[in-house]
């Protein structure tokens, strides 16, 4: 399945759009430091804010695509999430779903590889952005509300593993 991506540029405002969504280029320093900032502000639940923000802002991108391209099956909807992940430079993702949730594996990861490049190995997984992204992807694929899925990073490239693995399960 190929993702249809239309990049447009507004010559008046000089803004860029990806399939109609205002988008912007930034680097791994920005996303890794954003993650570190979220970690540092524990008392305001920075990591929860980061994860939920990723979930809430990615979901409309997926749902708009499903609607415009007549994507109807869970399998194809997850594929849309995986393809977008690569197009946006976030890495190489493979997701599988089961009745309770599913599993996601990253063979390559912008956040993890960026983290390694910047700070070296971390003792704990760091890809909170992707946790939110996956939560949005699964909820959009099965038509459940936000926060329907909990995502845990079990193994991480940032800790020295060859790949990252996330476990996804429904929040009851």
């Amino acid at each position: 399945m190929t993702l249809n991506v239309n990049f447009t540029f507004d010559e008046k405002s000089y803004r860029h759009y990806m399939n109609g969504f205002l988008s912007v280029l930034h680097c791994h320093h920005y996303l890794c430091l954003t993650t570190k900032t979220a970690m540092d502000f524990k008392e305001i639940n920075g990591l929860q804010i980061l994860q939920e923000t990723a979930e809430d802002t990615m979901r409309p991108v997926f749902e708009e695509y499903f609607k415009k391209n007549d994507v109807t099956t869970v399998k194809d909807k997850l594929l849309v999430g995986m393809r977008y992940y690569a197009v946006m430079g976030l890495g190489k993702m493979k997701a599988t779903a089961n009745e309770q949730g599913g599993e996601v594996v990253l063979a390559r990861s912008h956040v993890d590889q960026g983290w390694l490049k910047r700070w070296g190995r971390n003792s704990q997984p760091v890809n909170f952005f992707t946790r939110g992204y996956i939560a949005a992807m699964f909820a959009a694929a099965v038509g459940k509300p936000a926060r329907s899925f909990a995502v845990h990073e079990m193994e991480a490239i940032a800790t020295g593993n060859d790949y990252s693995r996330f476990k996804v399960h429904t929040n009851n």
Partner: protein
């Protein structure tokens, strides 16, 4: 001749950037991502809203710092890139000033802010104006263009502080006007720390 922003924008804005076979965008010495603006704006707003009054300045400083370090490292990658050499450098006739103008043209071309240098006192001070920038989107309120502040300090350092990577933390940037604050444009003032 000096750097003509609109010419640079036209040359660079059409470049389509997307992940390679590994889903990564490896360019300018960094990994690049292309995310919805809503993510960056919502994250900053939620962090600021969640912070108690006594912590707001610290959250703000941290958000500026994220962009500052991005601007310093990626900015260096940009101004030393083949694209910059090809598109911008032929227009450079005023040394660092023009390199800075070129950096803001790239800043504009990539959708960070429709911006340019309004005043410059080399090595000491720079005033940047932005007539459109994504950080102004959303509800009106306090000035919150943390990304522009961070990147502006970084760009000025790349032009006038010690050579990369030794020039960090030489300058600071404050926002003095903001579209999100009811002003006609955003204004950013870079000065020595």
């Amino acid at each position: 001749m000096t750097v003509m922003r609109d010419d640079v924008v036209k040359a660079l804005a059409g470049l389509t950037v997307q992940g390679d076979q590994d889903g990564l965008i490896d360019a300018f010495g960094v990994f690049v991502n292309q995310l919805p603006v809503a993510f960056w704006n919502t994250f900053a707003l939620r962090m600021m809203d969640a912070a108690p009054p006594e912590r707001r300045k610290q959250v703000e400083a941290a958000l500026v710092r994220c962009a500052y370090e991005c601007g310093y490292h990626t900015g260096y990658g940009i101004i030393t890139s083949e694209e910059f050499k090809k598109v911008v450098m032929p227009m450079v006739t005023e040394g660092e000033k023009d390199v800075l103008r070129g950096a803001y043209a790239v800043f504009t071309a990539w959708g960070w802010a429709k911006s340019g240098i309004a005043k410059i006192d080399p090595k000491e001070k720079m005033v940047v104006r932005a007539t459109d920038y994504y950080e102004a989107d959303g509800p009106p309120g306090d000035m919150r263009a943390f990304m522009i502040r961070g990147v502006s300090a970084a760009f000025f350092e790349l032009a006038y502080a010690d050579e990369y990577p030794e020039g960090m933390d030489t300058y600071t940037c404050e926002q003095t006007k903001g579209i999100e604050h009811g002003d006609a444009h955003g204004e950013f003032v870079v000065t020595r720390k």
